[in-house]
Symmetry: C2
Subunit: 500 residues, 2 copies
């Protein structure tokens, strides 16, 4: 049926949603909660129906903010609303739930329908559960990665690359609080003339994702064309992958698995491989931090995951190396978007307050990436990276990229201030910090409001290996409101957070 | 925070939803799509947040139709909206996804949180997937059934029962089109003085559920007190279980698994056992139709399922017998709410147009239930049931119950007319009908608009065992609109529907 659009000032935060008049919906046999197709010019969306008696009349369709904003559909446009048949992909998900293997075509149908939101989040959740049980074999995982990549656009940097089409990147599997590596590594690499179109994600299992942190200093959401321009101009970018139409199936899957706070290895690998295919990356360094409280808990599992990455990247024609490292705590002292960005800027500004172990991690990975791309001779990468950082060229490149991405001004680390409500917690005995619990950091930070409240978070005044005297401040909590601070305090168990 | 309610004329068809002002939500660190708690007097709801700039102001909360209608919260009431910590039940779901067994307490936490909608449908879907993989053991299934029952009210008919607290019921596992048994069985049983508080469901995997069909003749949605009154007055009821607060966790689960069109055996058993516990049933007959196109495909699986029912009902103290029967087609000739109710009334009215095999099925099950409850001697149940049906007492009791449930008038079968758009399909050769495909019936009926459009559906003019001559009408399709009829015709494959 043809209906006239009426913008509705409501954001659902979930699936795309429209509003139909009760009586009209009933006549068409459409129920609230059902998915229907909405067509407008070239755009074909699969949207969920809500109903009303008064807010839209027969002949009208209410479109919610996510639709009119993302797809720029004006008020009063004529759109087609149509019932569609149950997608076959639901039967393929069923097939997998019943323990059978899926063919490439079946997997591509599922990833395409997830990307188009043709199936509901509930059905996507059933699919996601299959990563745990009954599981997918390696061939299926490769098809899922490729299917996710093909569910959206593929960016091509070839013509921007003087060096035979090389585009490098570093990607951490995540799970560790303190995300400072990427914003230090990218400007070093780019200032050495390599192409590094980095995309990151928002938080899934940490207090803040790299994207959440970068956003403190610069815009991170761009269209494909805008990204190509930034990379052409500066040699790199530091953007939120979710805003591009890269592997959109993965974005839906991530939003579905977010509530659960776990991800299977196969899903993790498929997800990262898909994004790298979509960004036409040729050389990638995968960072696998492991240890208690991390995504991967021991060396054996880190080894297993590393092999999976290497095999599957090889199958899709991307050179991959893995950087495995044993971690006993977070990568930085600051936790939360603002506080983590402060650590990063201190490192780039060569300020003495920078966390030294964060810098060391960043330089190690930068060095490896320089070596695997042939820019540095074997064993010389670390020093090359360090001299760029020392010289101030990395700081300069950071702001060059930030400005190309639309940053309005160059911030100093000291411009960044955490939430005004804060509380310190002191040691009740002497000792040496042996371990800092990432999961406890996560629980407390989320209660304080990260990643959505940018200036919420905590500062660890003592990190792994530090000697502590009774009465020393161990950690400070920050929040933008009293309630939030209390929530964080309630969640905090100092004896769990710090292992002495 | 304390907010004033503002009714919003929108039905979402999904999770309970509220509307908050953008700015206020941001201040509180609440994101759209997040769940928050809404408290109003004794009522505590877990609701999903949508946001707006204009539709509600700071200080107000918009409540959608499902909330103000179901919980009768007036405009301008003061309610509390609060953030709540991530429920532990999500971790238990995670634990199960990772292959571990759940304790009784963990299961009860999950069923309680599902019932309260404290976790999102996505998380419930992850839990539901665990019925397929990694699966639950028998003890877990018993805990799930009990947990679901305890997630809501338990109705108690003891004081209504002169016969030592006995309350009997018959329940079909479903999956077969043609649902005439219950509305014939219940009035026979009740007119013999037994208490039979029957609850049924809306369609999950069939063109119309028993509830959808009963609704053609009588109201089916009641509160606990109303149901007790009906049963006290008439000895029975024929109501939609979903309107009661019985095992509400199961209602949420059913809405989550609806899109998938499959159910594991353990889920099926847990679901039925929970409802019977909640209705204080003491003797139950479980109908397991099996055969190609049914929920259970062969005798072996029917046997397996039967044993599961008997064991688990025994564990919870309910006497159970199973009625297994091999089916080659639907239970009636009419398919769809109106057309199935017409078959039922023809049977009760002793009209010659009644489907004889439907009547036979109903009498067999009624007889078994009379025997297991001690009302009839072994082997004498069928005859006792038949004589009540023949005498017209069942018809009388049917309308007595219907009137107690608020039916406005006594319908005659011939008052029931299907949708005005119709088309006949004829046989292209001679033969004998060997088989009628239930899944094809389902696909075609759903395309025609069942169960939501009551008068949509089909009439099978030939059923299993009937001799057909070329040119005989095999089936007629009915719909309320041209488009819908075309949708059904497009879906119809006569060669799949009828096995010659």
């Amino acid at each position: 049926m043809y209906l006239k659009t009426k913008k509705i000032d409501i954001e659902t935060g979930n699936e795309l949603t429209i509003l139909l008049n009760n009586t009209q919906a009933e006549q068409e046999g459409i129920k609230e909660g059902q998915k229907v197709m909405l067509a407008y010019g070239d755009i074909e969306l699969y949207v969920e129906v809500q109903q009303t008696e008064t807010k839209v009349k027969a002949g009208e369709v209410g479109i919610y903010e996510e639709i009119w904003e993302r797809y720029r559909i004006p008020n009063g446009s004529t759109v087609v609303i149509d019932i569609f048949n149950r997608p076959d992909s639901i039967d393929y998900i069923k097939k997998k739930l019943l323990g059978q293997r899926l063919s490439k075509d079946e997997i591509y149908a599922i990833t395409a329908d997830i990307a188009k939101e043709k199936i509901r989040d509930i059905e996507t959740a059933y699919f996601m559960s299959c990563f745990f049980n009954p599981g997918f074999d390696e061939e299926e995982v490769i098809d899922i990665a490729k299917g996710m990549a093909e569910s959206g656009d593929v960016l091509d940097f070839k013509e921007l690359r003087p060096d035979g089409g090389m585009a490098v990147d570093k990607h951490s599997i995540g799970g560790i609080a303190g995300k400072g590596v990427t914003p230090i590594l990218v400007p070093i690499i780019a200032s050495l003339g390599l192409t590094i179109p980095n995309t990151s994600t928002r938080a899934i299992t940490t207090p803040a994702g790299t994207s959440d942190i970068l956003e403190v200093a610069m815009p991170i959401a761009f269209t494909n064309d805008e990204v190509l321009k930034v990379v052409k101009k500066t040699g790199g970018c530091m953007i939120w992958g979710g805003a591009l139409k890269l592997a959109p199936a993965d974005d839906v899957m991530i939003s579905v698995e977010r509530g659960l706070h776990i991800q299977s290895y196969n899903k993790l690998v498929a997800s990262i491989v898909a994004k790298k295919i979509a960004m036409s990356i040729t050389h990638v360094l995968i960072d696998i931090p492991y240890g208690k409280g991390a995504k991967v808990d021991d060396a054996e599992n880190a080894e297993l995951l590393a092999k999976k990455f290497i095999r599957i990247f090889e199958e899709v024609g991307i050179k991959c190396q893995v950087h495995r490292r044993f971690v006993k705590g977070p990568d930085g002292n600051g936790i939360g978007p603002v506080l983590e960005m402060r650590d990063i800027l201190w490192a780039l500004e060569r300020d003495d307050r920078r966390p030294k172990f964060l810098e060391k991690s960043a330089l190690e990975m930068t060095g490896k990436l320089l070596e695997m791309s042939g820019k540095a001779a074997d064993g010389k990468g670390y020093d090359m990276a360090e001299s760029v950082l020392e010289s101030g060229r990395a700081l300069e490149k950071f702001w060059e990229i930030a400005e190309a991405q639309g940053a309005k001004k160059v911030l100093k680390a000291d411009d960044l201030v955490p939430g005004e409500y804060s509380q310190d917690f002191k040691a009740d005995r002497d000792g040496v910090v042996k371990f800092i619990d990432n999961k406890e950091i996560m629980r407390v930070s989320r209660a304080l409001g990260t990643p959505f409240i940018k200036d919420a978070g905590m500062v660890l005044h003592k990190n792994v290996g530090d000697r502590v005297a009774k009465g020393d401040v161990l950690v400070s909590l920050f929040a933008s409101g009293r309630d939030r601070l209390d929530g964080g305090i309630e969640e905090l168990d100092l004896g769990v957070l710090f292992g002495f």
